[in-house]
């Protein structure tokens, strides 16, 4: 499953309500079916830590860090890559 985030959040991914909706309605059902997910960040210039946290932290808590074998991040710029890394490191440390 590929989820194109730009269509949902625009060029700056900060709306946590949308992140929560994607997590609940797309990501969790797909992971429950053991599907692979690609989060496509094409055209996204930036993201907040809060947005990424709302998008993926609960997945790591629920499915464990092996969820990262199923969850891939595509077309991320440097900033977005670093924010995602921060959130994932943070979750694994907590």
């Amino acid at each position: 499953m590929i989820i194109k985030l730009f269509n949902k959040v625009g060029s700056f991914a900060e709306n946590k309500d949308i992140a929560r909706d994607i997590r609940i309605n797309k990501l969790i059902p797909a992971l429950n079916k053991n599907q692979e997910i690609i989060l496509d960040f094409d055209k996204i210039e930036g993201a907040t830590q809060s947005f990424i946290h709302a998008l993926i932290s609960d997945l790591m808590r629920t499915f464990g860090n092996t969820v990262l074998d199923k969850l891939k991040f595509k077309s991320c710029n440097d900033t977005v890559k670093k924010i995602i890394t921060i959130v994932i490191d943070y979750m694994q440390e907590s």
Binding site: G10, F12, E14, N15, K16, D17, R20, R23, E45, G46, T48, Q49, S50, H53, A54, S57, D58, R61, D78, T79, K82, I83, T85, I86, V87, D89, Y90, M91, E93, S94
Partner: protein, 319 residues
């Protein structure tokens, strides 16, 4: 309530302005101003507007302003916010104007629309836009999620050409930091609560490390860190306490998980602000690449989490 717009109130010298605020008699707001000249940080305007919103216009008394800077107050939308006629005619879009007028944000959708408008209003280059929209988004979202204020967040910002700085002010009249943090922790006082709110891994929504699915407890730490790396002022005022990150010069930058280890000043016993006020300066001269800042931030965050995790380790009971 009484509030006086002084001759000068920026983050570096804002303490007397805060001390002069009189929060008594919440049914009326009296605004006075320096007669000659007022040069003020946007956070001052956000505070006045936030107070004004809690009252009907006929309960707001504003001195007849004589200083030249009344045009600035008009342009930033203060009188419109307060429902007071100023009788000042100005050109709304002067070429020199790089500012965000006072704006009330009450929901997530309005915040997203507001964030999209930041770049055109402040004429920011992409490198500069990143930290500024990041800061504004996270601070305003904090208000929407935690303040429980029916009036939302009151925000404004201004570019200062001479110093090449963007100054941002955000105020709310919600429950304040102590009450938010007290839900999960037991802060002794307002300053203790501010310290906890600025530390990574601490959120009012839970005591669990890593926060909840909605809150990581890292938002304010990120913002303070952006200000630290930029060597800029950052001020947070809630209840009777104010914490101020001071400017730094030359020395090597180190991010601290404990805000009281940063170069700072703090004031307690200030007039009670029911809610939270945040002021930030972002110098466009010193803004490093946002992605470099994130490297430093990640390192500090992980170290802080490791330290915090040790605090939660169970100890053996030796009998």
């Amino acid at each position: 309530m009484k509030i006086h717009i002084p001759n000068s109130a920026f983050l570096g010298n804002i303490d007397p302005f805060l001390k002069g605020f009189d929060p008594s008699n919440k049914t009326k707001l009296t605004i006075t101003a320096n007669k000659k000249w007022s040069s003020i940080h946007p956070v001052v305007l956000s505070m006045i507007a936030a107070l004004g919103l809690t009252l009907k216009p006929n309960n707001i008394v504003c001195d007849k302003l004589e200083s030249k800077s009344k045009h600035y107050l008009e342009r930033m939308g203060l009188f419109k916010f307060l429902g007071i006629k100023s009788n000042i005619v100005i050109k709304q879009h002067e070429s020199s104007g790089r500012f965000i007028p006072l704006t009330q944000i009450k929901d997530s959708k309005s915040l997203t629309e507001f964030i999209q408008d930041i770049n055109p209003l402040l004429h920011l280059k992409p490198d500069h836009a990143e930290p500024i929209r990041y800061i504004m988004s996270e601070l305003i979202r904090n208000v929407l999620e935690h303040s429980l204020s029916g009036f939302g967040a009151i925000v404004c910002a201004q570019y200062y050409k001479k110093s090449n700085v963007i100054r941002i002010g955000i105020a709310d009249t919600g429950v304040g930091i102590w009450k938010t943090i007290n839900y999960s922790y037991k802060p002794k006082n307002d300053m203790d609560a501010i310290g906890l709110a600025l530390a990574p891994g601490i959120t009012g929504t839970t005591q669990k490390l890593g926060g909840t699915e909605s809150n990581a407890g890292a938002g304010l730490f990120f913002i303070k860190s952006i200000a630290t790396v930029n060597r800029d002022f950052f001020m947070i005022y809630s209840g009777t306490a104010m914490y101020k990150l001071l400017k730094r010069k030359g020395e090597k930058i180190k991010l601290h998980a404990d805000p009281f280890k940063d170069r700072h000043s703090k004031k307690t016993g200030l007039p009670f602000w029911e809610g939270t006020v945040v002021g930030v300066d972002i110098s466009l001269n010193t803004t490093p690449q946002f992605s470099l800042l994130l490297d430093l931030l990640n390192k500090t965050l992980i170290e802080a989490m490791k330290e915090r995790k040790i605090l939660y380790h169970k100890k053996p009971q030796f009998l």
